[in-house]
Amino acid sequence: MAGAPDERGPGPAAREQLQQQHVGCRVFSEPPAQGMPQQGFLSSFFTSNQKCQLMLLKTLETNPYVKLLLDAMKYSGWLWSPGQTGTVNPVKMIVLCQNNIRNQAHMSRVVTHELVHAFDHCRAHVDWFTNVRHLACSEVRAANLSGDCSLVNEIFRLRFGLKQHHQTCVRDRAILSILAVRNISKEVAQKAVDEVFESCFNDHEPFGRIPHNKTYARHAHRDFQNRDRYYANI
């Protein structure tokens, strides 16, 4: 995602959202895969958990990608609901690795990526554990719609390409994500991605387009808020 983060800080609404969305910052015992987090002058005043929490609140409050995904789930009645007693809910949490999230932009991208999965879980019968094509489809969508594969991010990874390189990135990152959570061969993962790519790459819900940066995401959010008028008049 291009562009500087908004200057407004997180407010009470974002804190309430944090509690209700059950998103948490945790440290995992494995060493970070991408090196140490950035160390600035003010970073010494906050623990990594506090920094993670602050970045998360700012994302929930200001990021147009996240706000659209949450609104889309709210509209369908999937977020705001009374609790029930009885058993645990293992599929509703998003866990963020506070020792791996480098900065605000990275936080926003990670939350967007995971919320795409949550959105897919809400809107469709996704068989996460036994159907690798379903997993592949959600990973293709998450890589495509989260900004993971923007031109700038690929350049930072020293992966250079221009014409249709976005699609190459989405395929590669989807395969990596599948291999990270499934004990299958790269060939099987690649075959699954190839089978579903045409359909899932072109499924842009709830954005209606590929949100290349915050401007596109704001346009998409505006269109979502206008959907009643839109479908009533076509």
Partner: protein, 105 residues
């Protein structure tokens, strides 16, 4: 398409203008080429903006028809790819259950 006095353009004319200007921008050209390997086509947004303004000024039936057909074509284009999974009619059964106790925070 709603007929009679209740109809209005599916989007405000300002939205068509914003989409056309975004489509014409150098940044969008670069991003579209990066994704699709070809230059973007922005003519339809321009025609839709003209139709919207024509309807706003003169309530032209032709402008209404043109806008409806254009937007329906966009909806068809977005839906032409088959789905990998079956859509739900309601949230997952376990969606509203409470989470496990958080002992790590």
């Amino acid at each position: 398409m709603a007929n009679g006095g209740g109809w209005r353009p599916p989007r405000p004319c300002e939205a068509y203008r914003a989409e056309w200007e975004l489509c014409r921008s150098a940044g969008h050209f670069l991003r579209h080429y990066y994704v699709h390997g070809e230059r973007p086509a922005c003519g339809q947004w321009r025609r839709d903006l003209a139709s919207c303004r024509e309807w706003e000024e003169r309530r032209s039936a032709e402008a209404q028809r043109s806008l409806c057909e254009s937007e329906r074509a966009r909806v068809r284009a977005a839906q032409k790819h088959g789905l990998v999974w079956t859509p739900r009619q309601s949230p997952p059964a376990d969606w509203h259950l409470p989470l496990p106790q958080d002992k790590d925070s």
